[in-house]
C-alpha cells in the first residue's frame, strides 16, 4: 500500500513540476510586452511613460534575469503568492481566483458527482430493460456528443429568452448581494439551474452509455454465466456485474475531469457566471498572462488532487488492487 502511494505520489510531484514550469513559461514566451500594454491602456504622456515602465516592470518582477524570475516564481508559489494581475493591477492573482472559485466549484462538483451517480444508475437500468434501453441509448448518444457550450446556448435560448422560465445571466439576481439568507439561496439556485443542467446532461449521457455497455459486457462474462448456472438470483448477478462495470467508469472519471472543467469554463461564459471561466475569458481578452497562469495553475492542482482522490477511491472499490498491494493471497 505504502509503495503504491509512494509511486503515485512521485508521479504527481513530477507532473506538477512539469505542468507548473510549462505554465510559467508560456506567458513569458508570448509575443508582446504586458507592461507596454498596460501603459498604453493608461494613456500616459510620453514623458511619464518611462518612469511608469520602470515602476511596473519592477512591480511585476520582470526586471531580473529569466532564471531568477523562474526561481522567484517557485519561492512565491510556496508562499501562496501567484503574483499580481496585469489587467486588474495591483490586485493579487490569488485574491481574484479566490473570489471566483466558489462559483466554479458550485457548478462543477455537483455536475460531476450527480452526473456520475445518475448516469451509472440509469445506464445500469437501461441494460436491464429493453424499453428503457431504446430511449436511453439514443438520448445518451445525442447528449454526450453535444458540446456543452452549444447545449448551454440552446437551454438559455429556450428556457431564458423564449419561455422566460430561467434567468440567462449571473449567479444571483442583480438586486441581491451574497448573504446567508433564504432569499439569496433561492435566487442562487434559480440562476444555478441552467448552467448546471448543461454540464450535467452532457456528462450524464456519457456515463449512462458507458455503464449500459459495460453491464451488457459483464453479463456475458464467464463468472456471470457461472453464477446463473448455479441458480443465483438475477438480482445478485446484476449486482456483481454492476460492481465490476464500475471499475472502468471510475478510471473514466479521472480521464474526463479535464473535459468537464473545460466545459464548465465555457458554460460560465455563456451564462456570465462569475466564476473562473468568465475570468479566464476576460484574462485572455486582456492578455493578463499572470492571471491566466494563476488560473491554469489552479486547474492543474485541482485536476491532480481530483485524480488522486479517484486513485484512492479505486483502491477502496477494487479489492484486487488492495490485496495485490498488501501482498495477501
Amino acid at each position: 500500500m505504502r509503495r503504491y502511494f509512494a509511486r503515485k505520489l512521485l508521479t504527481y510531484v513530477v507532473t506538477f513540476f512539469v505542468a507548473v514550469s510549462i505554465d510559467w513559461a508560456i506567458p513569458r514566451f508570448m509575443p508582446g510586452d504586458p507592461v507596454q500594454g498596460l501603459i498604453s491602456r493608461m494613456q500616459a504622456q510620453p514623458e511619464a511613460a518611462e518612469a511608469l515602465e520602470g515602476y511596473y516592470t519592477e512591480a511585476f518582477g520582470l526586471d531580473v534575469p529569466l532564471w531568477k524570475q523562474y526561481l522567484n516564481f517557485w519561492v512565491a508559489l510556496f508562499q501562496g503568492d501567484l503574483g499580481r494581475s496585469i489587467w486588474q493591477f495591483p490586485e493579487p492573482v490569488s485574491s481574484l481566483i479566490l473570489h471566483a472559485v466558489p462559483y466554479t466549484l458550485a457548478l462543477l462538483v455537483p455536475a460531476i458527482v450527480l452526473s456520475f451517480w445518475a448516469g451509472n444508475k440509469v445506464g445500469a437500468l437501461a441494460a436491464r430493460r429493453k424499453s428503457l434501453d431504446d430511449t436511453v441509448l439514443p438520448v445518451g448518444y445525442v447528449l454526450t456528443a453535444t458540446p456543452q457550450m452549444w447545449l448551454g446556448i440552446v437551454l438559455a435560448y429556450l428556457f431564458g429568452s423564449v419561455w422566460g422560465i430561467f434567468p440567462i445571466s449571473g449567479a444571483y439576481d442583480y438586486s441581491l448581494q451574497p448573504a446567508w439568507t433564504l432569499e439569496f439561496a433561492a435566487s442562487f439556485l434559480y440562476h444555478w439551474f441552467l448552467p448546471f443542467s448543461a454540464l450535467f446532461l452532457v456528462a450524464f449521457g456519457g456515463w449512462a452509455i458507458g455503464m449500459r455497455n459495460m453491464i451488457i459486457y459483464e453479463l456475458e462474462s464467464d463468472y456471470a454465466h457461472y453464477l446463473e448456472s448455479l441458480g443465483a438470483p438475477r438480482r445478485l448477478v446484476r449486482k456483481y456485474a454492476y460492481r465490476n462495470a464500475m471499475l472502468p467508469q471510475i478510471t473514466g472519471l479521472a480521464l474526463a475531469l479535464g473535459a468537464v472543467i473545460g466545459g464548465a469554463l465555457v458554460i460560465e461564459v455563456v451564462f456570465t457566471y462569475p466564476g473562473l471561466g468568465t475570468m479566464t475569458l476576460t484574462a485572455i481578452q486582456n492578455r493578463d498572462y499572470f492571471l491566466l497562469q494563476g488560473i491554469f495553475l489552479f486547474i492543474i492542482v485541482g485536476v491532480l488532487i481530483a485524480n488522486f482522490i479517484v486513485d484512492c477511491a479505486y483502491v477502496l472499490v477494487d479489492p484486487r488492487t488492495r490485496t495485490g498491494m498488501q501482498g495477501h493471497r
Binding site: P31, Q36, Q43, A44, A51, W87, V269
Partner: protein, 580 residues
C-alpha cells in the same frame, strides 16, 4: 460482503461530503463581509442598473487609476474641482466655486464652502493641496500636471494658488482641472506612495468622498457593484441638484447577447456597451441620444495611422491618394449600421467645429474618390507596370501594405476589410491582419507596422489633445501613446506647444494657431481621420425617464470613467422614476 458495504458507505460519504462542500462553498461566495451587508433585495423603482464600464471584477477604488477603477469611483464618490460640458464647451465650477488666472503665471481657485466628506469632516483647500502635491510622485498616473510648468501649490483659507515658473500650458492645465479627483487628506495621508499611485485602495470603510454616493456592496464581486445614495451631498443645497436613483447597480460586462437581452427585458436600465444593430431596436422603449442617425454622440475619432518611416507611406502624395481611396461611408453604413458618422478631414470632433477653418478644409481636404486617387498615384509616380492591378513603388518593387487592428475588435476587423477592399479600387494593395492586443501595442510602439487604426484620445476641453497625439516630438524608441506614425515635423510640434500655451480665453489666437495646424495636417496627412466612434449608450425607459436627448436634455449619457465628471452626473440628477 462487509468489505463491499464499507466501500459503498465510503463512496456515499464522499459524495455527501463533496456536495456539502460545493453548497457551502457556493453560499460562502460572498466572502467574509457578506454577513454584515444588507441582504434585502433592492427596490426596483429606486435602483438604476447600469453596464458597459467594468470589464473585470470590482476591486479597484483608486480614483487616480482612471483606466481601471470601479464604475463611478470618480464622479459618484470622489469629485473634481471643475466639471466640463463638452456639448456647450463650458467649465462648470464644482468643488471649486470659481477659478481664474491672476496674472500670466498664477491660477487661483476658490474652494466651495459647505462641502463635507461623507464621514462628516469638512472639505478644505488643504485637501486640494495635499492631492496635487501627491502628483509629484513620478509614477503617479497624473504626474504630468507637474510638467505643465507648475512650480508650487499653496493653500490659504479657501483659496488654492497654483504658481507656474514659466508660461503655463494652459490647455493641458484646464484639462487637469476636471480630471484630478480630490481625495481627503485625513484618510489618504496614511497611505504610502505605492498605494497612492498604484494601489487598489479598496478598504471600503476608508472610502470617503465628497460625491453623492457611498459604498453599499459588491467589492471584489465579478457580477455587480452597488452604490448607495448618501445624505448631505453639497450640490443639493448649493446647486439644487439631486441624484434620483437611491441605488446604482453596475453590472459586469459579460456576453454581448446576454447584456442586450437584459436591456430589452428591462433588467438593465442603461448600457454603455457597443451593441451592433442597436439602430434596429430604437423605439419608444429602447432609446438613444438621437432618435435617428447617428443615434450616438461622437466620443472620439478613429484614425488610420500610416508608418511614415516606411516606403511608400513616407510620401505624403501616396498618403493623400490612400485617403482618397477609402470608402468611409461604406464602413459607416455596412459595418456600423449608421451609429457612427464619417469624420471631418481634419479629424476634429463636431464639438470643435468652431475651430475648423473651412477654407483650409476646402482647399486641402479629401473625400472618397477613386479616380482622383488614381490620378494622384500616377502623378506621384506610382504605376502598375506589371499589370497585376496594383501599383508598385517608384523603384518598381511591389507594394503590399499590412493593416492591423486588435484581434476580437469585430467592428474594426470588418472596417479594415472594407478599407482593403476599397483601396484595391485605386490599385493600392492592403492586407488586413489581426494580431493580439499586446503584440499590436508592441509593434505599433516600435514602428513595426504599415497601417494601424487607433482612437486613444477622447472628447475633451481642447483640440490640443488631438494635435499632441498626432504631432508630438521627439520620437522615442518606443512610441507608447502618441505619434505612432513617427511623423517628424518640428514646425507642427512648435505650433502644438504654442497652442498649449494659449489660454482658452484667447479664442482668436487659438483659432489662428489651429488653422495653421489644420493646414499642415491636411497638406501632409500624417494620419487619416476615418469616423467618429460613439459615446455608446442605449437605455430602457420602462423604469426611468428623463434620459439625455438631443432635444432638450443635452448631457452625456455615460457612466464611463472620465465621463461622469463631464456631464454624466447630470444625467443622474435628471432621471425620473417612470411610475410617477
Amino acid at each position: 460482503m462487509t468489505g463491499s458495504r464499507k466501500t459503498r458507505t465510503g463512496i456515499g460519504l464522499g459524495l455527501v461530503f463533496a456536495i456539502a462542500f460545493a453548497v457551502a462553498a457556493s453560499l460562502g461566495a460572498g466572502g467574509a463581509g457578506a454577513a454584515q451587508e444588507k441582504a434585502l433585495a433592492l427596490p426596483r423603482s429606486q435602483t438604476l442598473y447600469t453596464t458597459g464600464t467594468n470589464w473585470g471584477p470590482y476591486n479597484n477604488l483608486n480614483p487616480f487609476m482612471n483606466w481601471t477603477y470601479v464604475t463611478g469611483t470618480v464622479g459618484l464618490v470622489y469629485e473634481t474641482l471643475f466639471r466640463y460640458d463638452p456639448l456647450k464647451d463650458k467649465f462648470i465650477p464644482w468643488l471649486a466655486s470659481s477659478g481664474k488666472w491672476s496674472g500670466k503665471n498664477t491660477y487661483v481657485a476658490t474652494m466651495r464652502s459647505g462641502v463635507t466628506w461623507s464621514d462628516g469632516k469638512p472639505f478644505t483647500a488643504a485637501d486640494v493641496k495635499f492631492t496635487i502635491d501627491k502628483l509629484k510622485i513620478p509614477a503617479h498616473p497624473q504626474h504630468t500636471l507637474w510638467s505643465t510648468g507648475l512650480k508650487s501649490v499653496t493653500a490659504s483659507g479657501n483659496k488654492v494658488t497654483f504658481s507656474f515658473g514659466a508660461r503655463p500650458n494652459y490647455q493641458e492645465f484646464d484639462n487637469y482641472l476636471f480630471n484630478i479627483p480630490i481625495v481627503p487628506q485625513h484618510i489618504w495621508k496614511s497611505y504610502n506612495n505605492n498605494t497612492i499611485v498604484s494601489g487598489n485602495v479598496n478598504d471600503v470603510k476608508k472610502l470617503v468622498g465628497t460625491g453623492p454616493y457611498t459604498y453599499h456592496s459588491g467589492i471584489n464581486s465579478q457580477q455587480t457593484f452597488t452604490w448607495q445614495k448618501r445624505d448631505g451631498w453639497w450640490a443639493t443645497k448649493a446647486l439644487g441638484m439631486d441624484v434620483k436613483p437611491r441605488y446604482i447597480v453596475d453590472i459586469f460586462n459579460g456576453s454581448n447577447a446576454a447584456s442586450l437581452a437584459n436591456l430589452l427585458a428591462g433588467k438593465i436600465d442603461i448600457s454603455n456597451n457597443f451593441v451592433p444593430g442597436i439602430n434596429k431596436q430604437v423605439g419608444s422603449k429602447i432609446q438613444t441620444y438621437y432618435k435617428g442617425k447617428p443615434y450616438m454622440l461622437p466620443g472620439n475619432t478613429a484614425w488610420l495611422f500610416p508608418n511614415t518611416t516606411r516606403k511608400p507611406l513616407d510620401d505624403k502624395a501616396f498618403r493623400k491618394a490612400l485617403a482618397h481611396s477609402i470608402n468611409v461611408d461604406r464602413i459607416v453604413t455596412a459595418d456600423y449600421g449608421n451609429i457612427v458618422t464619417k469624420a471631418n478631414p481634419t479629424g476634429l470632433l463636431p464639438i470643435w467645429n468652431k475651430y475648423i477653418n473651412q477654407s483650409v478644409v476646402k482647399k486641402h481636404g479629401f473625400s472618397y474618390n477613386l479616380n482622383r486617387a488614381k490620378t494622384m498615384l500616377r502623378a506621384a509616380g506610382y504605376r502598375d507596370s506589371d499589370g497585376d492591378g496594383f501599383v508598385e513603388n517608384k523603384d518598381g518593387s511591389d507594394i503590399n501594405l499590412s493593416i492591423i487592428v486588435p484581434n476580437g475588435w469585430s467592428d474594426w476587423m470588418t472596417a479594415i476589410q472594407i478599407i482593403a477592399d476599397s483601396a484595391k479600387g485605386a490599385g493600392i494593395k492592403i492586407t488586413p491582419s489581426y494580431p493580439d492586443y499586446n503584440t499590436l501595442v508592441d509593434d505599433r510602439g516600435n514602428g513595426r507596422y504599415d497601417l494601424v487604426i487607433a482612437n486613444d484620445r477622447q472628447v475633451s476641453n481642447t483640440p490640443w489633445t488631438y494635435y499632441d497625439y498626432i504631432f508630438r516630438l521627439p520620437i522615442l524608441k518606443n512610441q507608447t501613446t502618441v505619434n505612432y506614425q513617427r511623423y517628424s515635423n518640428p514646425t507642427a510640434w512648435k505650433l502644438t506647444q504654442a497652442l498649449d500655451k494659449t489660454p482658452a480665453s484667447n479664442q482668436k489666437a487659438m483659432k489662428t494657431t489651429l488653422s495653421r495646424l489644420q493646414q499642415i495636417f491636411l497638406q501632409d496627412l500624417p494620419a487619416i481621420p476615418l469616423w467618429y466612434n460613439g459615446v455608446w449608450a442605449q437605455w430602457n425607459t420602462s423604469q426611468w425617464n428623463g434620459w439625455p436627448s438631443s432635444q432638450g436634455n443635452q448631457v452625456l449619457p455615460a457612466m464611463w470613467r472620465n465621463y461622469l465628471q463631464m456631464t454624466g452626473i447630470e444625467m443622474l440628477t435628471r432621471l425620473k422614476p417612470a411610475a410617477s
